[in-house]
Symmetry: C2
Subunit: 137 residues, 2 copies
């Protein structure tokens, strides 16, 4: 990992809030309160695909994806988790972890591109970030 040159993509940064840094990845909360939606971003510069990572880093990312899934399940009791590495709009490697419910705004379709984001209000944002930070601490 190269702490000097790694930067989170500007579009990812603008549309999400930092939660915490795990060993390999930064976790961020997407600013759309329609869904509990986390981004898992490996702090590895110039990486596009999971298979571009070294085996050691890739294992670390998988473990952190699992960790995120467990915290999401504990905190939100989703009917289904959606876990995805797409990267069609932002090439920097990032993995989505989204808690889905049959009553949510996109169900049963994927969430990407559905309607307009509903930014968090300050109270819910602070509550959610606090709970998530506690969950990963």
């Amino acid at each position: 990992m190269d702490a000097v040159t790694f930067e989170i993509d500007a579009q990812l940064k603008q549309t999400s809030y930092p939660i915490i840094s795990l060993s390999v990845c930064d976790l961020r909360l997407v600013d759309d309160q329609r869904w509990p939606w986390l981004l898992i971003i490996p702090r590895v510069p110039h990486t596009v695909e999971l298979i571009d990572l070294s085996p050691e880093l890739r294992s670390g990312v998988w473990l952190e994806i699992d960790h995120v899934a467990r915290v999401m399940r504990d905190q939100f009791s989703p009917y289904k988790l959606n876990i995805a590495a797409l990267g069609n709009q932002v090439r920097q490697l990032h993995i989505h972890s989204i808690a889905r419910f049959p009553e949510d705004a996109a169900w049963p379709n994927p969430v990407w591109g559905v309607g307009d984001p509903e930014p968090y209000d300050a109270t819910l944002l602070n509550t959610r970030l606090g709970a998530l930070r506690d969950g990963f601490a």
Copy 2:
């Protein structure tokens, strides 16, 4: 794993062709020639989420997801791979691995729910299944 009670979900089966069985997962080709699109289906009955798998099986699935990604890259040279465990429509655990291109029918959006599937013609189907089976042999 329980070979006796494991069955692939009927909807997944009807919309895809078997490619090969790896150690943990069955691989299938989705019957839509607009995209090279594989399904990775762990042969573990009654599994919905990746975190429901034992750590050993989960590691095996991750390795096979990586294996699929490498074969997809070798055979199709995608601009981007889309790898996703959604399961909103079919709950049985299955992972999508899709080769994406800037000129494809959904770019830059996800492929799910876009237009109508274009079933393979027999010649392309046989060529593709043959090449994929060789790639995983």
